[in-house]
Symmetry: C2
Subunit: 197 residues, 2 copies
């Protein structure tokens, strides 16, 4: 009973709405598609769509599904003595399902970066993830016996830089026409910087 029937049907409906919405977005554009259009496409009321997605942006950004929980689990599983930069690179392995359907991922990315509202929502989401990652890093350092001082910018700076590289890699990967794997693009981006001892 880890997943009740209700939860499963909820996920199914959410997925159905998401798919229908994405089809409409791809067809006539994000801004030109209203929530009413989406609701009509899946035969629901506008109100019900908002019961599955808090905002219109979430329908798209949620698709990127950079599952925060998964990332934090990965981070916590890394050896505490490992260099932060290496741990962060491993955390981003969670995103590697990009490789599964490159053309689909590219479609969404293009839509996100081309639509100001989506771009802002996406960046904000990344920022929230960083907050969670930083919290874990601080705990881990303390447990490893070398805690950060309260005003040390290091964990935040390293995390922010790593996420910056993530976005840069997405741009590069898109610009290159999705040649090669995304993991390679990420490796290249993160290799341009080295954390100081």
């Amino acid at each position: 009973m880890s997943e009740s029937l209700r939860e499963r049907t909820r996920r199914a409906v959410q997925r159905e709405i998401g798919d229908a919405a994405l089809a409409l977005f791809a067809e006539r554009g994000y801004d030109a598609t209203t929530i009413d259009d989406i609701a009509a496409a899946v035969g629901m009321s506008q109100r019900s769509v908002f019961r599955y997605f808090a905002t219109k942006e979430e329908i798209v950004v949620g698709k990127l599904e950079l599952a925060v929980d998964d990332m934090l689990d990965v981070l916590r599983a890394r050896p505490a003595g490992e260099p932060v930069w290496t741990s962060l690179r491993r955390v981003f392995d969670v995103v590697d399902h990009y490789g599964d359907q490159p053309e689909f991922a590219a479609l969404i990315h293009r839509m996100v970066f081309d639509t100001p509202a989506l771009s802002a929502a996406y960046l904000h989401r990344l920022q929230l993830m960083q907050d969670a990652v930083v919290a874990v890093l601080i705990v881990r350092a303390a447990e490893a016996g070398s805690p950060y001082t309260a005003d040390d910018p290091a964990p935040r700076a390293l995390t922010a830089s790593a996420f910056g590289c993530l976005v840069a890699a997405q741009h590069s990967w898109l610009a290159s026409g999705t040649t090669g794997t995304f993991a390679e693009a990420l490796d290249r981006a993160m290799a341009t910087l080295v954390p100081r001892v």
Copy 2:
């Protein structure tokens, strides 16, 4: 005639609206303040407020005034052979007027980071600045005789990391209760990473 009277009055009105709006935001919160409230406070119609600010977020984010043009000028003025990381640090000197009124800057920053809509808008703005910076970096490298290859993620990754450090420094500076100068916080944040040769 570098500045016509119309432009000056326009700026004056814009400033007046911004000040009144900020006072209301600080008093009763950003979300709880409507554009109508702001319009009433300055004795204008709602429509006219939108003639001075494209969006509600811009009233606040515009205050941060990370003047893009100034930053690009600074960047172009740096010697072409200088390490990118150093140039980027110099670019951020433009933000140093933070030191003028630390409590005011802290107020706005807190508001921005506490309000999801503002946070998203701010991060999006930073992203746009990064695009402009990257473009300049690419031109400068080409002129210096060592152009980047089209798919090189380096300029983007370095710029994104530097801006990540900027945000991290803002957080640290706020968390430390604005002890010390913002420039110091920035130096510390950017010192945690070193670009690879």
